[in-house]
Symmetry: C2
Subunit: 398 residues, 2 copies
């Protein structure tokens, strides 16, 4: 069936960091009203809520959040869906919201997410995060996420014959870059912090799970983000700078022992990004910058390869050579990414959309990137859920 | 936009009860393959998974289940969404799956859910269930679900001026009816049990939260259910007895203190069921039988009113007069409902669809109901999420 063009009307996000005094619904409301204010619509124009949250039941005793969140933002009674796909929760929600508008189910919807992992504390937070790995074989074997990506780093080193010490230095460059960008972004958890890390700082920081040190890891974060979507036609009537959804993709994988050698090739990400390129009618060369799911330094490297930007085994070199810096050929995570900006899990996907929309609208002053097409990449769990979204300043095919 | 007619191709469900030796994904697989076997398709025909689960992270250490479940049933890599809306999780998933096929996003999808609350034990189960109430004001006040519906029963008694003792006897009739039907359903948790309860048995069973006794409450259950959906055109080519999706509705509400007097009028259910009637082009009079969310006896009564079958305050009388028995004008829960059959939360919505499809196809031998149109009603939380679905043996408008 013919699909309608869809555009981003407004975006909002809270400051990422520590929010002990706001509930998940209240945090979301803050992000929502920022998006609402720039959308030039009335509340009653919003027909449905698509809400991403990972572990509200464990951190806040709160599940079934759809209705509570809708009510909190003044949208009493509307259909409200909660999506859970670990770190990709609000990206899955975004893709569904996009399809709902594209297919004519609704004309205007709000999508976003919120999460409070910092406030939950390290013990509950770590336990909650670990539920994103396979619950039968992996979590029972003690696998938590630093473990997953430490495995990935070691596997990467071995498969592509890059000595681990050399790889660690290249991974450190991801941390340095993303912290540098995050430190100038006022919404970052690490605003004004860690902006001039050196390789030695990363290598010598606390060992979390060898070879990953503290600075190889993103932090635990509280925060929320929201995006209002409508048809391209309506958006052009309502605002000056619509950002269009050009393509989306989603794929999945089973437990790590079933992925085997596919793990560092991130096959579901390859499938998902190719789905997005195909829908957008674009190739990796057409993408001007990317928000990539850098939950760990090695994760950004692996992702940049599976999305088709670099050959397998060459992503680490690309970082070291500055290709992924904001003045390089393919800026990655100009807002600081998960490592520099923070990672409120269920809010991360639509926070990536926030940054991409701001940059494409030329409203992002901290690390400006001149761009017409931007892309997001969100990973849920240990490659269990992958979502990619391509946005641009022109309609598809224009 | 024009929507395509959608039909149920196959349905499956596990026995409800205690499943200590199967994971959430394995339980779902059992239900899925039952649905798959009657669908006359190949695995590769299924393009996406819509999966409902409420609290896998708390009961099984398992979130991010979409990919793991897809992989378990041999659908490696397909887009897989997990929906959480408390008891309405798989009903929300069903509605999304329906729209995906209706709008042409996919031609064939599987939707369902699984849950293990019995296996989790009463302490974890009660705590997990309580996350479906508001996490800020309600759960912290000690409100769990027997409390919510005990409040509802007392409010109902007061508002409609039915003495509590009289109301308790009428509520007991719901329990007697649903246990009677559940006891002859081999897939029920209470198969061959409690089939001939008397009013005194219900009134004198253990007090859970006054005025609700043990037999006023549904049990904690493990189980799974699955439904395969495709276009009506394809279904007519593939199977002899397609069951068509005629209408769906969904609405939401905020915390109880915001619903106030709306609580026992279940306003979101009124909105949701009217949405379903409108889409189906039908009225309550056209519905031949209903699967209603009887998490507690009073819940079935309240629901039957908000859906338009009885006037507000008259639902309790209808039960007492036998109107809702299988030989009455409007059979409710001929499979035993949640009280008689069991309530594996995330699996309950598509288990209702299972029964409705079986009855409409004339394949349900335990409590046969002659019917052309059936309806489901699923409640998530304390009225936070409501979903209604209407199915029939003829296409919409035919």
């Amino acid at each position: 069936m013919e699909k309608r063009d869809v555009a981003v009307l407004g975006v909002g996000m809270t400051k990422f960091g520590y929010h002990p005094d706001k509930s998940l619904a209240e945090l979301f409301a803050e992000a929502f009203f920022e998006a609402f204010e720039e959308s030039n619509i009335e509340l009653k124009d919003i027909e449905a809520l698509y809400f991403g949250n990972f572990v509200g039941e464990m951190t806040d005793g709160s599940a079934n959040l759809g209705g509570f969140v809708a009510d909190e933002i003044g949208l009493k009674g509307i259909p409200a869906r909660r999506y859970e796909a670990a770190c990709a929760s609000s990206s899955v929600a975004f893709r569904e919201a996009y399809y709902a508008v594209a297919t004519g189910l609704y004309d205007c919807v709000v999508v976003g997410g919120s999460e409070r992992l910092y406030n939950a504390g390290t013990a509950i937070g770590t336990r909650a995060l670990a539920t994103a790995v396979d619950g039968v074989y992996e979590i029972t074997a003690g696998l938590t996420f630093p473990g997953v990506f430490a495995l990935a780093a070691r596997f990467y080193s071995k498969k592509y014959e890059i000595p681990l010490d050399e790889l660690r230095e290249k991974m450190a460059m991801v941390s340095i870059k993303n912290h540098k960008y995050g430190a100038v972004n006022p919404k970052s958890q690490f605003y004004n912090k860690f902006g001039d890390l050196k390789v030695e700082d990363v290598l010598n920081s606390k060992m979390i799970c060898s070879p990953l040190t503290l600075f190889d890891c993103c932090p635990m974060t509280d925060g929320a983000s929201a995006v209002i979507l409508t048809t391209a036609d309506k958006a052009e009537d309502l605002i000056d700078t619509p950002v269009y959804v050009l393509g989306t993709g989603q794929a999945s994988a089973g437990a790590l022992f079933r992925q085997k050698e596919d793990m560092i090739r991130a096959i579901p990400r390859k499938i998902s990004s190719e789905m997005a390129y195909k829908e957008a009618g674009l190739t990796p060369k057409d993408i001007d910058f990317v928000e990539i799911h850098d939950c760990f330094t090695i994760a950004e490297i692996i992702a940049s390869e599976a999305m088709g930007f670099f050959e397998y085994g060459k992503g680490a070199d690309a970082v070291a050579e500055g290709v992924t810096s904001i003045d390089g050929d393919l800026p990655i995570n100009p807002d600081g990414g998960l490592i520099g900006k923070g990672h409120p899990v269920g809010a991360t996907g639509t926070a990536q959309i926030y940054t991409v929309a701001k940059i494409l609208r030329n409203e992002y002053k901290y690390n400006p990137v001149k761009a017409e097409v931007g892309m997001t990449d969100t990973l849920g769990g240990d490659f269990g859920t992958l979502v990619n979204i391509i946005l641009g300043i022109h309609r598809r095919g224009k």
